[in-house]
Symmetry: C2
Subunit: 282 residues, 2 copies
């Protein structure tokens, strides 16, 4: 691998996302990858398989010019409160949290006090299973890289994109934390809530032999990490609740049309759904 | 193709399902395939591409020892009322309707009056798009073939399975029409209602750049044929309404936990979903 322009990046938290970022850096870039995880067995595994070049302690974060915090939202904030003093001045610190309002409300102030730049980010990729064991250098191929710069200097944002896009992302988009969270409530959180609600039907345990792609697709993400998602849901409570209310209202309209045997109304409701998809070219 | 045990089968209605059945018979069996569709252009296309061996009129149905009715539910019943007189005594007639209670309530009597055997069936396969143009000889690979025999002789049921399973099905299951419809309300109808209700969110047109697999999977079947599905929904109104009520109730429980910021309750609800999937080994 060509080492021109080689940087030192640090990945904090080697779960599914952190492990995949480390592996993608190794596969697609010349950069040197430092790894930190509270589980020393995971750090050893990451070293052994070549996902990271060096397992470090928080004090060694000073070597990195770019740090990816791949932790739960509250843990990411707590980590910076405790170890922000070790981060080199001018370093760019980013995160991978699925919800941005909360973390972007707290990080810029911490960043200013320690002299680094914080840029919120959300790589839009995931798997049904978690942990380093599921991490994959190709997790981000074709995915969208969402940034919430919150006032970070344009040059720092450009530098983060220049370093991160080669991990396989196909597009990047910048927005505010609030706009991000409203859209993510719809695109990601509602489908997860939905999958869990759906499989709670008493019919679910009998589905085999009577199901095909529709069941599989709706139920897929019910294989949820409830510890992480309950935190993500509550960090985004108002937008998520509003989206759930919208969904419940539309489902109730369909149910009412079914109950009243109103074929015209039912056809019209289903047609509305089809038209949305068609207008999106999907 | 070996022609030992060659039968003459007729496919009535050459849309997505009928076209796929015809093509699968040509690809995987030695049987002779007759085709009938009210659209003569479709019959010509099916002949030209070799999906059927002969385009027939209703009067020529007498040649077939097995007839697949691949029509909407009411159209299938109407077709038999009008043309049942042409069906050979002892012929096995089956259908492909996604809802079975209604058709199985009417067909056996018609079958008895015309001297053929009716066996309800539901090949569990589909696509987001319809019509002969979407038909595919491999549509049924790995799919489940559901039968609702409703008192048909065991030998006739065995004969239907023997002839149909080679089209690519991986399993067959027999049940009552009522049990079928209750399970299908859950496995297939709710996901379709859900997909339409989901994409009606005002956020949907802005999803690009903010979405990944979860959005894609839940919204996929919103590309609905509202003419067909409004009929299927109303043919199964009571079971579908009950399943929608169950789903709305579970979604509301999740929403309440979010609204009251009750992390323990939320974690427990999501955990219930995960456990259902885990117990199913999915």
């Amino acid at each position: 691998m060509n080492t021109t322009g080689c940087k030192t990046v640090a990945v904090v938290g080697l779960g599914l996302i952190g492990g995949s970022i480390a592996k993608a850096f190794q596969k697609y870039t010349p950069h040197r990858v430092l790894g930190l995880d509270r589980d020393t067995a995971v750090m050893r595994e990451a070293l052994d398989c070549g996902a990271i070049d060096e397992a470090i302690t928080p004090a060694q974060l000073a070597q990195a010019s770019l740090i990816y915090l791949c932790l739960y939202p509250q843990a990411a904030i707590d980590f910076i409160r405790e170890y922000g003093c070790f981060i080199a001045p001018g370093c760019i610190v980013t995160d991978t949290c699925g919800i941005k309002t909360e973390i972007c409300a707290q990080m810029p102030q911490l960043a200013a006090s320690y002299g680094f730049t914080f840029i919120g980010a959300h790589p839009m990729a995931g798997r049904e299973r978690n942990g380093f064991v599921m991490s994959d250098a190709d997790l981000f191929l074709g995915a969208s890289f969402i940034l919430t710069p919150c006032g970070a200097a344009a040059e720092a944002v450009a530098e983060l994109k220049r370093t991160t896009m080669p991990l396989g992302f196909s597009a990047s988009v910048e927005t505010t934390p609030e706009d991000h969270d409203r859209l993510i409530a719809f695109t990601s959180q509602v489908p997860h809530a939905l999958a869990c609600a759906y499989v709670m039907s008493p019919c679910c345990p009998r589905h085999k032999g009577f199901s095909a792609g529709s069941y599989r697709d709706v139920s897929r993400v019910a294989n949820i990490n409830e510890e992480l998602w309950s935190e993500l849901f509550l960090d985004n409570a108002a937008p998520l609740s509003a989206e759930l209310e919208t969904l419940i209202r539309h489902l109730s309209l369909i149910r009412q049309a079914v109950d009243s045997r109103d074929r015209d109304r039912l056809r019209e409701l289903l047609r509305q759904g089809r038209l949305v998809k068609e207008e999106l070219g999907e």
